[in-house]
């Protein structure tokens, strides 16, 4: 729907009158629209907060896992360092045993120790690849360790020769200093790892605290969001309830007002007509009974009294009809406007068969609307055209449709008396007449009734005219897709 601004009521005939139904929606959009966007914004914010908290938790947990794996890594390095030392000691102890006893069996631990040493050294190299200090230490450790192992190997080779007997314990212990050096190097390697372990332990504890914290933050954010949502929901519910109660009160008041209006109309239609009947009836009685005793001008006076009474009765009837139409709810259906107009035209001809008037009705005009009300509208529109072309010898009245303004526009044109566009603004108000009663009879409610009916259908009505050149009334029924909807309804009924 296109939002036109609020404004002019039934008047403004020169420009098409603005639409009331859409303006109400426009007003609602202006005042209440932001409320509709609010939940979206709030939802977005809540989602952002939850995603943020999740991301924080996720990252902290990742970091915790990483810290834990570094700690694990350090433990592994320490284990490797110890295994390296054990390998070295095994090799040395095995070699020493052989040198002292010449027992070949002692060579097994020696060989095993060497293998262990080589294996764990290689592993240490790989495991500490990220730590340049330890790499340098390993590099510095490698030549003396190899030298020591080579020395052991050479001593064992010498002990193999038959000429060589048991080696003196002093010779075996001669490399003690070298061994102590190697041990201290290994201790330094391990110390470094222990230092790292302490560091990584601390880092992990920090991570644990951070992860804990982010969990609490997440919990707090969730609870806060939930609280906000609950509060907002409760406010929304209470507002809605309030609105519902207000609506209910309004409905009751409207029902009361309608009932009152109903009673009022009933009383008007019944009680106001009774005195009018008396005025008319007794005036006629007087005229009849006095007969010749009254002169013609006096009869004329009585005739005027009667005419006034009858006119007032007509006014009352028209007003009641207008008021009833305003309170009608539409019974929508597909309406054959052409057929309806044809019936109305036939009625007009019956009332005055002597008239020479061509009434041209475009065939097959269909619209979505209330048939009863549209009949009343066409009765008034064609009736007006019929009335105001009375002075023409050969009048022409048209009822047709045209495309315009994004929809179907219905046109009722006559070549009758027309009117001055200066007064077009008054055309659709109740009791507004642009012609004297002497020229054309009428209560001035007809076009007001038509306007009401058109507005009830969500349409517009406007007029163009010039004095002595006829009048053209144009109206729409509902939105531009009214005709399409009517067609669709038609097809649905057919298929």
């Amino acid at each position: 729907m296109h939002g036109r601004d609020a404004g002019g009521a039934a008047g403004a005939a020169a420009a098409p009158p603005r639409r009331r139904s859409t303006s109400v929606i426009a007003h609602w959009r202006r005042t209440g629209g932001w409320r509709d966007r609010m939940p979206g914004t709030a939802f977005g914010a809540a989602l952002a907060i939850l995603v943020g908290v999740f991301w924080l938790s996720f990252r902290n947990t990742e970091r915790l896992i990483e810290d834990a794996s570094w700690r694990q890594h350090t433990y592994q390095v320490i284990a490797e360092i110890r295994a390296l030392l054990v390998g070295l000691i095994d090799a040395q102890a095995g070699a020493r045993g052989y040198l002292l006893t010449g027992d070949e069996r002692s060579l097994a631990p020696y060989r095993g120790g060497r293998e262990e040493f080589a294996l764990h050294f290689a592993r240490l190299r790989a495991l500490t690849a990220d730590n340049p200090l330890q790499q340098r230490r390993l590099t510095a450790f490698e030549p003396p360790a190899n030298a020591e192992l080579d020395a052991l190997e050479r001593a064992i080779a010498r002990r193999h020769e038959p000429s060589v007997g048991a080696v003196s314990p002093a010779a075996v212990t001669a490399d003690r200093r070298a061994m102590a050096d190697l041990r201290s190097r290994i201790a330094a390697l391990e110390d470094e790892e222990h230092r790292l372990l302490v560091e990584r332990d601390l880092a992990m504890r920090r991570s644990v605290r951070r992860a804990d914290l982010s969990l609490w933050v997440g919990l707090a954010a969730g609870v806060a969001l939930l609280a906000v949502a609950v509060l907002a929901l409760r406010r929304e519910i209470s507002e809605r309830r309030q609105a519902e109660r207000a609506q209910l009160r309004l409905n009751v008041r409207l029902e009361n007002a309608n009932a009152e209006l109903d009673a009022f109309c009933y009383s008007v239609s019944h009680d106001l007509r009774a005195p009018l009947r008396a005025i008319d009836g007794f005036s006629l009685a007087l005229a009849e009974d006095l007969g010749d005793r009254l002169a013609a001008p006096e009869h004329e006076l009585l005739a005027r009294v009667r005419k006034a009474a009858q006119r007032m009765a007509q006014l009352i009837d028209d007003l009641l009809r207008l008021s009833r139409i305003s309170r009608t709810s539409l019974a929508l259906g597909s309406v054959d406007l052409s057929a309806l107009a044809g019936e109305v035209a036939a009625d007009l001809r019956t009332l005055d068969p002597s008239r020479q008037a061509a009434i041209a009705i475009e065939p097959a005009m269909r619209a979505l609307g209330d048939e009863r009300l549209l009949r009343i509208a066409l009765e008034n529109l064609l009736g007006n055209a019929w009335k105001f072309t009375r002075r023409r010898e050969r009048a022409r009245i048209e009822f047709r449709s045209e495309r315009g303004g994004g929809g179907v526009v219905y046109v009722v044109r006559d070549d009758g008396a027309g009117f001055d566009m200066q007064y077009a603004g008054q055309l659709f108000g109740a009791f507004q007449r642009l012609h004297s009663s002497a020229d054309f009879e009428g209560t001035g409610i007809g076009l007001a009734t038509v306007a009401r009916i058109v507005h009830l259908h969500g349409g517009r009505i406007w007029a163009e005219a010039a004095v002595g050149q006829g009048a053209t009334l144009r109206f729409t029924l509902g939105d531009s897709d009214g005709a399409a909807a009517a067609e669709a309804a038609e097809k649905g009924a057919a298929g």
Partner: protein
């Protein structure tokens, strides 16, 4: 030969006078009994004062004590009067009154025109139809 009466149920003296005048102008010779509220109408129909059943009841809707519709309801509920021709002659033509009146079994519903000449014509046609043309059920 005695002609059955017409019962006119009408509380407004002006309307009563106008209706009597319209009947007279149409040379309707039936005696006219006037009841000025619903209770009086029922009393008349129940035979108070030895009155016989009228040939036709002309009934207004807005009446003191008992409304026209209530009178109609009682006429139709009473075996003695249930086939009596009743014509509602009233000012308004509210849809709900029309529906209620026909539901209660009224024979005809006529709205009194303001133009007295039209009213005289309406009364002429009513008299012609209900008192001459139409054959009522035997009493």
């Amino acid at each position: 030969m005695s002609v059955d009466a017409i019962l006119l149920v009408e509380d407004n003296p002006d309307d009563e006078l106008l209706t009597l005048r319209a009947l007279a102008r149409n040379h309707i010779a039936n005696q006219v009994a006037v009841a000025r509220d619903g209770a009086e109408a029922i009393a008349y129909l129940e035979g108070a004062g030895g009155a016989a059943l009228p040939a036709l009841v002309l009934l207004d809707l807005k009446l003191p004590k008992l409304s026209g519709l209530e009178v109609l309801e009682r006429i139709r509920a009473e075996p003695r009067t249930r086939r009596l021709p009743v014509v509602i002659l009233t000012s308004s033509k509210e849809d709900r009154d029309l529906v209620a009146a026909y539901d209660l079994g009224v024979n005809s519903f006529v709205r009194k025109p303001v133009d007295f000449a039209e009213f005289v014509e309406a009364v002429r046609q009513l008299g012609l139809y209900w008192l001459v043309l139409n054959e009522s059920a035997p009493a």
